[in-house]
Subunit: 227 residues, 2 copies
Amino acid sequence: MRKYAVIVAGGSGLRMGADKPKQFLLLRGKPILYHTIQQFLKAFPDILIYLVLPNDFLQEGQELIREFGPSVNIQLVVGGATRFHSVQNGLNKISEPGIVFVHDGVRCLLSEGLIKRCYEQALVKGSAIPAVAATDSIRIMNATGSQVANRNLVRIIQTPQTFQTNLLLPAFVTAYQDAFTDEATVMEASGQAVHLIEGEYNNIKITRPVDLLIAENILIQREQVPN
Amino acid sequence: MRKYAVIVAGGSGLRMGADKPKQFLLLRGKPILYHTIQQFLKAFPDILIYLVLPNDFLQEGQELIREFGPSVNIQLVVGGATRFHSVQNGLNKISEPGIVFVHDGVRCLLSEGLIKRCYEQALVKGSAIPAVAATDSIRIMNATGSQVANRNLVRIIQTPQTFQTNLLLPAFVTAYQDAFTDEATVMEASGQAVHLIEGEYNNIKITRPVDLLIAENILIQREQVPN
């Protein structure tokens, strides 16, 4: 079965207080995106990766791809106005059926094991959405105030959101809606159910400066005890 | 108005991989609980603090109290079988009306500003429950799978959960239920609404080794730019 990854790093925000977007910040001497891509290549060396970048950062993307050498298959895709449009641009490149991982570029700490479990479950179930239990109380706002959610039923959603291409590609042939906050919501809007699987607590998004520190700490531990 | 804090540190778990419970681990040379207590004393020097500890750690508690000198009012309380029972043991010590903060001992990074806002809002509204918006997609499991929650309506609940004692104390005169995951749920079970206010992203619970690193980083920044 063919394997595709659409790695979304379409943001050009500088909220981290650095001089480049967060996906290019260095972690153990390599850009965050390098670590992300490397995990997919470790899990599936024959994977075809579509790396979705802002138009202004294609040159940085080319330099990143060169680091992996000529044998790997990574193509740059220009991002769109929203995450939905960026993912759509990536999915539009796919012409042969297979399994596609849609992944946040700044979640560089996912394990090879998670990638493989997503693949196997999506093969069987059509989709695999990694999720973890909530450690805090969660409330949902309503007209009169808020209501506590049963903590046993709350799941925090991660990526790679993984799908059979013959289900996800048709779902993305649609107009954008504000409710499309991830690929699972697009899939559901097309009438397909999604299947949650166990995610990983370490599979964090790097969005704040302190997350870089956490990520470095986790990578150092991993170098000592490879997973 | 009298001010009370019930600081709950009833756990004796060693999940952090250390030789003592997490609330006694050192952060910038002082136990985590020291930092927590200090924030309440900075906000309200006249506050009466009930520190709820496991029975086996009362001696450590006495040593901690001594660090603050004779002028502060901190009393030790022995924890119960659940968080509900631990908080109940603390609340049972209160005899005069006032405002009570119920706070997780391992949330040592809350600001004085948050404590003061909780106080002011609880005075006006009866309760003040700090909460922050969710940064990830959240799903709620149901009989057929899961349903995405509208991210704009999801709130992640923190402490100090703050109440007028004349509302919270009667609410705690009840039998334990599994649904009592925090003080807000106990308050609601008594027929009272709770009022959410804006929390702080830095107001994290220290539960994993990496959280100590995050906390240290935040404290170092704060020493440079006091809040």
